[in-house]
């Protein structure tokens, strides 16, 4: 009854909880055991970026085919993505407090970028709610969505790499080796990323079907 990829996502995350808390991790100063946050904090952000990717994909589809169903999906995906930024921000604050010594620092370009990206997407929902005509709303918000996605990537992926960042893997080129991940971290990190992306898709699936039902109800 439940689709296989949903079960797979749940099992992968369960695996990261059970194995992620007891496997051996690199011994690093300051970080200590908090290195394990890599299994939980980072995949949440990957899920957020993935949802924004889904959102912009269907925004482009809406512009090329001009159908309202793509617009609904695009809207829902942006909502799920924005939702995932909440635990992402909260866990990031927590981790920062106990390693960098502060809940939030404006010195770090990644934190600033994320804050701006969240505001850009909040504006997306305000824009949507301010247009009453369905087709007009679909078109204008799709154009804004593409702008928002590009800006988010500039602020989160590009700018932090141009300057120094407290985040590993930034301030330099984007090679994944710079994450200083050894094989024991990878065996939990990659399943965690796939797991959280699948769970975010599951939530999107439920939200999307709900929105379609509501859309159908309004038409009748």
């Amino acid at each position: 009854m439940i689709k296989w990829w949903k079960i797979l996502g749940a099992l992968l995350i369960l695996y990261t909880i059970v194995w992620g808390l007891q496997n051996s991790v690199p011994r690093l100063d300051i970080l200590n055991e908090t290195i394990r946050n890599v299994y939980y904090h980072v995949p949440i952000w990957f899920a957020m970026l993935f949802q924004m990717g889904v959102s912009v994909w269907f925004a482009i589809k809406q512009l090329s085919k001009n159908d309202l169903k793509s617009d609904i999906l695009s809207d829902q995906a942006a909502q799920v993505g924005l939702f995932f930024s909440i635990p992402g921000l909260l866990t990031g604050c927590m981790w920062a407090k106990f390693t960098w010594g502060t809940w939030w620092t404006f010195e770090d370009p990644k934190l600033n970028g994320v804050a701006i990206a969240v505001l850009i997407y909040l504006a997306y929902f305000i824009l949507r709610s301010s247009i009453i005509d369905e087709l007009k709303r679909a078109r204008i918000s799709a154009v804004y969505n593409i702008f928002a996605f590009v800006m988010m990537n500039v602020f989160i992926m590009i700018l932090p790499r141009l300057t120094d960042s407290l985040h590993p893997g930034n301030g330099g080129n984007a090679k994944f080796a710079q994450y200083d991940m050894d094989s024991s971290l990878r065996t939990v990190f990659y399943p965690a990323v796939i797991g959280w992306v699948l769970i975010s898709l599951w939530i999107l699936d439920i939200k999307h079907r709900m929105a379609l039902l509501k859309h159908k109800q309004n038409e009748d």
């Binding site: 009854m1 369960l14 909880i17 808390l21 007891q22 970080l31 200590n32 699936d205 439920i206």
Partner: protein
């Protein structure tokens, strides 16, 4: 003299503090069980929502 060498060798090899004993005998499995239960509950709720939605769609 010997004691001095031993103690200085120990400080040189000082490793970052890790929760080694915490994991080996510190009942970390209880925490793992608690987290797993919470996660399974949330997933069960998603399954419940999914099934309920399917029923609504069939109407």
């Amino acid at each position: 003299m010997l004691a001095f060498f031993i103690s200085s060798a120990q400080t040189m090899n000082a490793e970052p503090a890790m929760a080694d004993t915490f994991r080996s005998e510190g009942k970390i499995f209880v925490v793992i069980a608690v987290l797993s239960i919470i996660f399974i509950c949330i997933i069960s709720y998603l399954v419940y929502l999914d099934i309920k939605l399917k029923k609504l769609e069939k109407k």
